[in-house]
């Protein structure tokens, strides 16, 4: 790293901009917290006050203990974590194949991953329902997982492939000369260097499953299978909605995502991967 310390004015400017951007970004979130604290289920507020009159944590209590929040949480965790693990595994391997091997059909299959994303989702719901019904995957977390993995794969495969592409092949060739087979080279050399991409893939797969409700709503119609987004949706009415509870639930639902990010953040810090390897 450079031995010269960045001048104070530059550091102050950087922090100033970051703080401004962060505050603007968080403002709507503060409003959501306000809704969760406000008694009386009001989505809108008529003043700029962030902490409403009569603020209380009652809605958090209701959501956690009077609604089957923990059941929803369990279902969501099972689905999201499975999708993440399976997604990362499939993407890490297929991406590598696409990056390193030029086999017949290589371009077409890569492009076909993209094709699956292009069709507007709304029209796919009815046939998807019919399909899952035929294979008895309706009202099953398995069915949901299969669909989510399908949704997440294109991005994950492409990202892994892109990242692998930026890793020079001499490293694997050196490994092969050293006696490791291709699989060994992949597992021992390439994979550890790809941690940032694996992080992106993991986060994306997790989010794709954690916050999805459109497909979940079609597939899961039994209340004891509901995932968190569906559980929250059940609080929404046509006219009147339990806004405070909904907002509280939304805040709670965001926390695991932030925690996951913080756990994976270490892989997004420089010095760990290629930058630190003498190339």
């Amino acid at each position: 790293m450079s031995a010269v310390k960045t001048p104070l004015w530059q550091r102050a400017l950087t922090h100033g901009i970051l703080i401004l951007v962060t505050l603007v970004t968080l403002y709507p979130v503060l409003l959501v917290i306000g809704i969760s604290l406000r008694p009386g289920d009001q989505l809108y507020s008529t003043s700029l006050r962030l902490i409403p009159e009569g603020a209380s944590f009652h809605s958090y209590y209701v959501i956690l203990f009077q609604k089957p929040f923990l059941l929803w949480l369990k279902n969501s965790l099972i689905v999201s974590l499975s999708v993440t693990l399976i997604g990362v595994a499939l993407a890490a391997t297929s991406g590598y194949a696409f990056s390193r091997y030029r086999f017949p059909g290589h371009r077409i299959s890569l492009t076909s991953f993209l094709l699956t994303q292009m069709f507007p989702a709304t029209m796919l719901l009815l046939p998807l329902y019919l399909l899952l019904q035929k294979v008895h995957l309706l009202n099953s977390l398995w069915g949901l997982m299969v669909v989510y993995v399908t949704t997440a794969l294109p991005f994950c495969v492409w990202t892994m492939k892109g990242y692998y592409d930026s890793i020079p092949r001499d490293l694997e060739e050196a490994a092969l000369i050293d006696g490791l087979g291709p699989l060994g080279a992949f597992l021992r050399i390439v994979l550890p260097l790809s941690l940032p991409a694996l992080t992106i893939t993991a986060l994306f797969s997790f989010m794709a499953a954690w916050s999805e409700f459109i497909v979940a709503r079609v597939i899961l119609t039994k209340a004891d299978l509901f995932t968190l987004p569906l559980g929250l949706e059940a609080l929404a009415g046509t006219f009147q909605t339990e806004w405070a509870n909904y907002a509280a639930g939304s805040i709670l639902v965001s926390i695991p995502v932030v925690i996951l990010f913080l756990l994976l953040n270490r892989f997004l810090v420089s010095g760990l991967t290629l930058g630190g390897v003498k190339g």
Binding site: P39, Q42, Y44, M145, K222, L225, G237, F239
Partner: protein, 415 residues
């Protein structure tokens, strides 16, 4: 450190999906009959429904009823998807206009065939909507109609004519220290045609004729659109932009002296402690017709895919849910009008001021058409009404375009 993860992760990957097998899914014992109802009741109503069902299950230990909640539009699309794929719930509960498309798509059974020995006279006549000669839903409430709600601490006597209305609204307005309006006289959802109907009827108009053809290009429509726009532009008694959520918030915070809302919200305002009373939406002129909001019903329909073995249990449940005791319970707790005649004789109902006021409004209401064409009409009215409200179209042009659009859409839908 890394070594440990490479060992654990594959195990996790194998085990986690297996957990998905437990909880939910099959494992159905030959025990209680399970009945599923998909509904769209707002939170307060749903709460009462759950209590009512708990009582039923206590009396019938061999039956278990579960509710799945969706909001109205999603309920319609969900039910359609499921029922068309030969699945879905046993019963679907919703407003009367959903039976139009459902019956055409043949995904609900005619109620008069499902309950052959039913005494239909026990219901209010207005509670039974027929389509193609059949009754398709068994109603437990009537109304679903708009009323005028006013904050009793601000408005002493509700208005009876449009002029009085503007007058009272103006008087109820207050200005804050910063010069901005603190409290508005009136707030309502003026982007949705459902809220336009009372104004339309006050001027003598209606949405369709007896042959289900739209009748939107009328002087009554022009007058209605003009008045609604004037409320904001000329009289300035309503906020600049207002939608359902804002109206709701404003009433709960005392920022609106009067609003126009329906029975689905009364329970919520009671809970929020808003001091309110109901009145009829005023007439346009003294001696003219009262504003007639659309009145409908909400009821249960039976899925065509219903398992024959459950029919007996379902019939029993339906009778329970539409009994005078149960419908009266919704009435006393939430000021929702029962569909059953006998309920009105119960003392709790007779003496309930809110209910009686709602009934008064209901009496001058007009039945909402349940034919599928109504959807096309709503869809045609909506954008034109919004164009008038944002100043980009005159009421005359809007009325004319509404009519044309409705005819086009009906033609498209019936192709």
């Amino acid at each position: 450190m890394k070594q440990k993860w490479t060992r654990i992760l594959p195990v996790l990957a194998a085990v986690l999906p297996l957990l998905a097998g437990c909880g939910g899914g099959s494992g159905k014992a030959q025990g209680p009959t399970e009945i599923t109802i998909w509904e769209q009741r707002d939170p307060q109503e749903k709460g009462v429904m759950e209590k009512v069902l708990a009582d039923y299950e206590a009396q019938h230990p061999d039956v278990k009823v579960s509710l799945v909640h969706y909001d109205t539009e999603n309920l319609r699309t969900q039910y359609q998807t499921a029922a068309l794929a030969n699945g879905g719930p046993d019963l679907v509960y919703g407003p009367s206009d959903q039976v139009g498309p459902f019956s055409v798509l043949e995904i609900i059974r005619p109620m008069d065939e499902f309950l052959p020995g039913e005494d239909w006279s026990r219901f209010l006549p207005a509670a039974l909507d027929t389509l193609d000669g059949h009754v398709w839903s068994l109603p437990d409430q009537v109304g679903n109609h708009l009323n005028l709600l006013y904050n009793t601490e601000v408005v002493a006597k509700p208005p009876e004519t449009f002029d009085e209305w503007v007058e009272i609204a103006r008087k109820a307005m207050t200005t804050g220290a910063d010069g901005r309006t603190e409290r508005y006289g009136l707030a309502f959802e003026f982007n949705e045609p459902f809220w336009l109907v009372p104004f339309l009827t006050a001027y003598g108009g209606w949405v369709m004729d007896d042959a289900n053809r739209p009748t939107l290009d009328t002087p009554a429509m022009v007058k209605a659109l003009t008045f609604v726009n004037d409320l904001r532009e000329k009289y300035r008694v309503v906020p600049r932009e207002c939608n359902y959520q804002l109206m709701d918030t404003m009433f709960k915070t005392g920022k609106a002296a009067m609003i126009i809302n329906g029975p689905w919200s009364f329970g919520d305002y009671k809970k929020a402690g808003v001091p309110f009373a109901l009145a009829r939406i005023p007439r346009a002129t003294p001696g003219g017709p009262w504003a007639a909001p659309m009145i409908g019903t909400k009821g249960y329909s039976v899925n065509v895919n219903l398992d024959k073995s459950k029919e007996g249990a379902i019939r029993d449940l339906l009778h329970y849910l539409t009994s005078e005791k149960v419908t009266a319970r919704f009435a006393t707790e939430l000021a929702i009008l029962p569909s059953v005649r006998a309920a009105y004789d119960l003392p709790g109902i007779k003496n309930d001021a809110l209910l009686q006021a709602s009934l008064e409004q209901w009496k001058v209401g007009r039945r909402m058409p349940v034919v599928p064409e109504m959807r096309a009409i709503w869809d045609a009215m909506r954008p034109q009404m919004q164009s008038v409200m944002n100043g980009s179209k005159s009421p005359e042009d809007a009325a004319r375009d509404m009519q044309k659009d409705a005819l086009d859409k009906i033609a498209d839908m019936n192709r």
